[in-house]
């Protein structure tokens, strides 16, 4: 059992190494990133504790997947399996719990710990294997996969945007609009197996163009309704809403360039840093997009 946990830790360290980061530095970046993003969330909205805990809970559900449980069942007896699940769940929830305690949300923190314990001892699998319809049926695959993986988060974000309009809170609405793009960007973060690039009978430029068109349509379908609602209910701020939508689209598209600029490997550290800089200073996209596009074409040329 301890060797299994040691292997999981080794895998994590190797994941950082593959990204070109020293594991210690990687852990440090994750901690700092987590604290910064969490703090920003709690500054920006009064709904932060709910968004935060829901995100933590969704991770817990992911960790309780049928595949993971099945794998553990094949390897360990019931006692060891439950101990492993408990350690995993507590370790996963710990950063969230510590932050919630720091923010003095004792009840929610306690609720997360309780959920972690219950789910470790529960023998049922928390997976949603039912077919979830998406608006992107004819445009496989990133949008469909992403939509199904995070559809609960989408429901939450649409609900938050509805509440933003109800309580007349423009800032909350605009954060939700940005969050929708941020979630959509995650659909393009992981490189697909090269077979799914190889099957395309076109040149790299046409391949990238097709991916961009799909992403534009996806972005419009996902974030468009919120933008329209914002324009209707907050007409005085129409310019900010349109700019946020436009920048969100640009980031979504630049994520595709970033993905294929490192393909078939995941986005590496230098590319990640460049991308992070552009998130902080969007005009950087003017330099980053052509650079990533050039690199993408070169990388895809070897496969297409």
């Amino acid at each position: 059992m301890s060797y299994y946990l040691f292997l999981q830790f080794t895998r994590l360290k190797r994941w950082f190494k593959d990204l070109g980061i020293y594991p210690v530095l990687g852990f440090l970046i994750c901690i700092i990133g987590f604290v910064l993003i969490s703090s920003l969330l709690f500054i920006k909205t009064e709904w932060a504790k709910w968004i935060f805990s829901l995100f933590a809970f969704s991770l817990l559900i992911k960790c309780s997947s049928k595949t993971h449980n099945k794998r553990l069942k094949k390897l360990f007896n019931t006692q060891d399996r439950r101990t492993i699940r408990l350690i995993e769940n507590i370790a996963l929830m710990m950063p969230f719990v510590v932050f919630l305690i720091y923010k003095q949300h004792w009840t929610i923190a306690g609720g997360l710990i309780l959920s972690a314990i219950i789910m470790a001892f529960s023998s049922s699998h928390l997976t949603w294997n039912k077919y979830i319809p998406t608006p992107f049926k004819r445009r496989p695959f990133e949008l469909i996969m992403g939509f199904r993986q995070v559809f609960l988060l989408f429901i939450l974000l649409y609900f938050v945007s509805f509440k933003a309009i109800q309580v007349d809170n423009y800032n909350l609405g605009i954060v939700t609009l940005a969050a929708l793009f941020f979630v959509s960007m995650s659909f393009y973060a992981k490189p697909e197996p090269s077979y799914f690039v190889w099957i395309y009978s076109c040149k790299p430029a046409a391949f990238i163009k097709a991916k961009l068109v799909d992403a534009l349509i996806g972005g419009a379908v996902i974030a468009g309704p919120v933008l329209i609602a914002m324009l209707i209910f907050f007409p005085a701020n129409y310019l900010i809403s349109i700019v946020v939508f436009f920048i969100g689209m640009l980031f979504l598209l630049s994520m595709i360039f970033a993905k294929y600029s490192a393909y078939p490997n995941p986005i590496n550290l230098p590319q990640g840093i460049l991308y992070a800089i552009s998130l902080w200073f969007p005009p950087m996209l003017i330099i980053i997009i052509p650079l990533f596009y050039k690199q993408s074409k070169r990388k895809l040329d070897t496969i297409l």
Partner: protein
């Protein structure tokens, strides 16, 4: 017509394919046999332009890769994608725009379910259906009969015959000799990256005898059981 001349492939210091010379004609089925690690999959990957190589592969097509349908030994499926969506994806990639997959579902696959949850055989059938619908000209089938039920195996044999009559070129690898001898026009024996034997239909039984002799007589006695 597909011509392979002096094809070699190395991974570091290990040479996997050594100076392969083969010709493939339209309307014919070719079998490749060989032990695990003989280089069959590498040869297929070179033909599909997935791997770089030394030597040349020429054909009548400007871009051969765009005419190849590749069925991998263990087809990969993306998570949360239904069988229908998988078919849509692979067809769209080859600019084939069709939607009536249900009508063409000869293997009775549950197309509205996630493909990642399919059984091994169902995954193989879905991947095969995908490359058939793409309307390719060259079919590379790596172990197409593995894990597939007997009814579907019969159907796959019929599909191969139909593809042959449509003047397609088909390359198959299989560890079950009888499936190759009943369908192929030529069988090549690949051993340690070298084409050791080229057999026409009339030589198939001699080739099978050689394989049996090599495996049973020379190998079996090594293991004490």
């Amino acid at each position: 017509m597909l011509i392979i001349k002096q094809l070699s492939k190395s991974y570091g210091n290990t040479q996997v394919l050594k100076n392969i010379n083969l010709n493939f004609e339209k309307g014919k089925i070719y079998g490749i046999v060989g032990k695990n690690g003989a280089g069959k999959t590498t040869l297929f990957n070179c033909l599909a332009d997935i791997e770089s190589y030394q030597g040349s592969i020429t054909s009548n097509y400007t871009m051969l890769k765009n005419h190849v349908g590749l069925l991998e030994t263990n087809p990969i499926f993306l998570s949360k994608i239904t069988g229908w969506e998988y078919l849509k994806l692979v067809c769209r990639a080859k600019k084939v725009y069709i939607e009536n997959f249900e009508e063409q579902n000869i293997f009775d696959l549950p197309l509205q379910q996630y493909a990642e949850n399919y059984s091994t055989g169902m995954k193989k059938k879905l991947a095969l259906m995908g490359i058939l619908l793409q309307k390719n000209d060259l079919f590379i089938l790596d172990e197409p009969f593995n894990g597939v039920d007997i009814q579907s195996n019969i159907l796959i044999l019929a599909i191969l015959e139909k593809l042959k009559s449509q003047q397609k070129t088909i390359l198959i690898s299989s560890h079950i000799f009888s499936t190759l001898s009943s369908t192929c026009d030529h069988i090549f024996l690949l051993n340690n990256g070298v084409i050791e034997k080229k057999a026409n239909r009339e030589d198939f039984s001699a080739l099978e005898k050689t394989l049996k002799k090599d495996i049973v007589e020379n190998t079996l006695d090594q293991l004490n059981f």
